[in-house]
Amino acid sequence: MLAELINPYYLQVLSFILINIILGVSIYITLSTGQLSLGHAGFMGIGAYASAILTLDYHMPLVVGIVVGAILAGIVGLCIGIPTLRLQGVYLAIATLGFGEVIRVLFINLEGLTKGAVGISSIPHIGRELVKGLQDFGFKASMIGLKNNQLISLSVFLLLLIITLLIIAFFIRQTNSRVGRAFAAIKMDERAAEAMGVNITYYKVLAFAQGAMVAGFAGALFAHVTAYISPADFSYHRAVEILIFAIFGGSEVIWGPIFGAAFLTAMPEILREVNEYRYMIYGVLLVVMMAFRPQGLIDTQMIYKLKQRRKKKGVS
């Protein structure tokens, strides 16, 4: 029964959805202080490359690689965030775009480290490593009636699910706290936030670094799920795609980019015909969303109404 339900194909698609959800969350954090970053593909790439190189060339355990990758991306985010702080809006977006492209060019040219455009292959795969670990403990896929590849896909999916839920929980709690309110205040009116005693420098850099770190984390996971990365994976188009998750789903509440990432990743799988027009749809989507619903499909009002309705139901 279980064995028939667990199809690696669906799990694979769901795993990519989860990684994209994490990316959506990463851009949401940056946007939650009103900063637009077009450099998230770069941060993702830093996480991916750092983890791949550490695990492959230095034989570090996967966990170490992924965590170091994320932290490194966060540190780079910090280094980029501080000087770019004095840039606002469009200028920040352009500077981050430049940053992302410079990172990609470095991946291409630092051949000794990154193998250049050819990319890094045979990166340790999360699922395979995990199942190998389980086997060392004497646990085999057949023990729960699964095939080996089913167990691998299942373990990848479950691991990513747990990680994603933890990340979402982390940022929901942060949003509903003093820190989150400071973020929101800066996004809505920077000067007023400043006048109310919010240290805007600190919180903007914090949000930028957090966003970079989460993107790096997603990148590291990506590297260990596909087992192969190349500079082309972290181009300008990827940055725009990440941004679209938030623009389409909504950037006011965390559910927006989560929905956006899940929907837009699943869409081409369900409607294969859509694939042909995928990017055209993305383009039109951006224009239409800006004209008719710049806050995205899911916004504060919607969540608020849902909550009110639930409250009413609770009373009656």
Partner: protein
């Protein structure tokens, strides 16, 4: 003295917005800052709160120099303001707006928020209680879950005051709080400012509604083209020929009535 403004001059490019303005505000006073449009009143507020630096001069608050601090440090020091063109956080509820005001008096960071430590929970609770208390003070308790954007004009003005009060200021800067208010709202505002004064908070007030200013202020300074033309009690100001001329010349006679 709570506030000492010493020889403030501000130039924007070629325009002289303020020239050598000096005044002092005593503890518990309501001090008025009046003058025709473009006299440099709001510029003065911006300099006191360090939104931008003065070209010359300095601002001392309770013996501490504010000039050169960052705006949030000024708020931390105990000076908070409202804005002439209301700057609430539109997509936050009324209650949330006030909680943001308490930012610099609270300290939970990322980790304590995410792990919901005891101290953080305690703090959140007290933030909420204090916010409700302030909303009661300005009469917006009923509307706590409304989005700030959906409030009526007068209510928004009062919410801004509540938000500023949330930062526990010793000095409150009000920028035209009565603008756009009807008579009964203005009366409520009068009472509110009286109450704030009773709390021991010093108030610096920019206002065009002269009857309100004359009734509520202990002392006043009058600016015209960025220069002081008079300083004193409402009674002294009313009878100052230069002030009358400045206002008469600008066909705003009735303002002084």
């Amino acid at each position: 003295m709570v506030l000492e403004v010493r020889g403030i001059t501000k130039r924007f490019g070629g325009i002289q917005a303020l020239t050598d303005v000096t005044f002092q505000v005593g503890k518990g006073e309501v001090f008025g800052l009046i003058g025709p449009n473009g006299a440099g009143k709001t510029t003065m507020f911006n300099i006191i709160t360090s939104m931008f630096p003065p070209t010359m001069g300095e601002v001392i608050f309770m013996g501490k120099k504010l000039t050169g601090l960052k705006p949030h440090e000024v708020t931390e020091a105990g000076v908070c303001r409202t804005f002439q063109n209301i700057r609430l956080f539109p997509e936050m509820t009324v209650l949330e707006n006030v909680t943001v005001g308490q930012h610099c008096r609270t300290k939970s960071g990322v980790w304590s928020s995410v792990f919901r430590t005891g101290a953080q929970k305690q703090e959140e609770k007290s933030i909420r209680e204090k916010a409700l208390e302030l909303l009661r003070l300005v009469g917006l308790e009923e509307l706590q879950d409304t989005f700030a954007d959906n409030l009526a004009y007068g209510q928004q003005r009062r919410l801004e005051i509540a938000r500023a009060l949330a930062s526990d200021p010793k000095l409150l800067l009000l920028d035209e709080p009565a603008a756009g208010m009807n008579e009964s709202e203005t009366k409520d505002l009068f009472d509110l400012i009286q109450n704030i004064k009773k709390l021991g908070i010093t108030v610096l007030l920019i206002e065009h509604d002269m009857p309100l200013v004359m009734r509520i202020c202990d002392r006043l300074i009058v600016l015209n083209f960025g220069k002081e033309i008079a300083q004193g009690t409402p009674e002294e100001i009313k009878n100052n020929p230069e002030v009358i001329e400045a206002y008469l010349g600008r066909e705003e006679e009735e303002d002084l009535a």
